[in-house]
């Protein structure tokens, strides 16, 4: 069996990639995808810890995290659609009404 630490390092790498994506990209959709990567890194940590602890709790938390991710994705994409109606751009730098 692969040790727990391997999984933790893998999830740390995924989390870092997601965080980097939020800062690096200038496209709302890709930023949302980066946040999904972060949440998946979190899920991997929960499942790996849950397995190490021999309890089902880790998987149950993942269930809740996925529910939350789905709810957030639905609302987030609706907001993005609304914004796109105002302005044909998804680049945060093009927002002018409020100072960033």
């Amino acid at each position: 069996m692969v040790p727990l630490n391997y999984y933790l390092v893998l999830s740390a790498m995924l989390f870092a990639i997601g965080t980097a994506g939020v800062f690096v990209r200038r496209n709302l959709i890709t930023i949302l995808l980066s946040i999904e990567i972060m949440l998946n890194a979190v899920n991997l940590t929960f499942v790996a810890f849950g397995r190490a602890l021999g309890s089902a709790d880790g998987q149950i938390i993942v269930f809740f995290v996925m529910t939350v991710a789905a709810a957030e994705a639905a609302v987030g994409l609706a907001i993005v659609i609304g914004l796109f109606r105002h302005r044909e751009s998804l680049n945060p730098d093009s927002w002018t009404a409020l100072k960033w």
């Binding site: 991997l44 089902a56 809740f64």
Partner: protein, 173 residues
């Protein structure tokens, strides 16, 4: 190398490389598709972790529902490519402010997290047995965690109302 270790490295590599490509893409459609690949690899890792339930809902809910929603929106908005004013050939670390900061932050974060998390000497190995079955998860979800489960239903209702409200065109008062 044991087949399981091999599978871990294969899935892990796919997950990391696909995720890296997600944030390296400027076409959101490719990003979404690559993320689905990354989620597939994660699903494989969940199987290795004796979590078949999570592995299955990862595919059904994440790859199947959430990512398709993303794909749908990207296509609805006519796949807007990212506008860039800088030269694409420049090395990422030499690009303007937020990019450099982001890349640096990610490197620091990955290093720091890995360092801190692997400093434990004892909890490196998994105990044998103790596999959480779907039955056990379901039972726990509807007994121990019944309260947050019910609150989740309100959360979903809020998300539904919100999505309809925000995405519908004006016209109704």
């Amino acid at each position: 190398m044991a087949p399981e270790t091999l599978a871990f490295y294969a899935f892990g590599a796919v997950a990391v490389v696909a995720s890296l490509l997600v944030i390296a893409q400027r076409n959101p459609i490719y990003s979404v598709l690559l993320l689905i690949a990354s989620f597939g690899a994660l699903s494989g890792l969940y199987v290795l972790l004796d979590a078949p339930f999570v592995a299955v809902i990862q595919i059904i809910v994440y790859a199947g529902a959430i990512m398709v929603l993303f794909l749908f929106v990207v296509m609805l908005l006519n796949a807007p490519h990212e506008e860039t004013e800088y030269d694409e050939r420049v090395h990422p670390l030499l690009r303007p402010g937020p990019m450099r900061f982001g890349a640096l932050l990610a490197l620091v974060l990955a290093g720091e997290l890995s360092w801190a998390l692997t400093r434990s000497g004892d909890s490196g190995r998994f105990p044998a047995g103790a596999v959480a079955s779907v039955r056990a998860i379901g039972r726990s979800l509807f007994t121990d965690y019944a309260f947050p489960f019910e609150v989740t239903s309100i959360l979903i209702l809020v998300a539904m109302v919100g999505a309809v409200l925000l995405a519908r065109r004006e016209g109704r008062g």
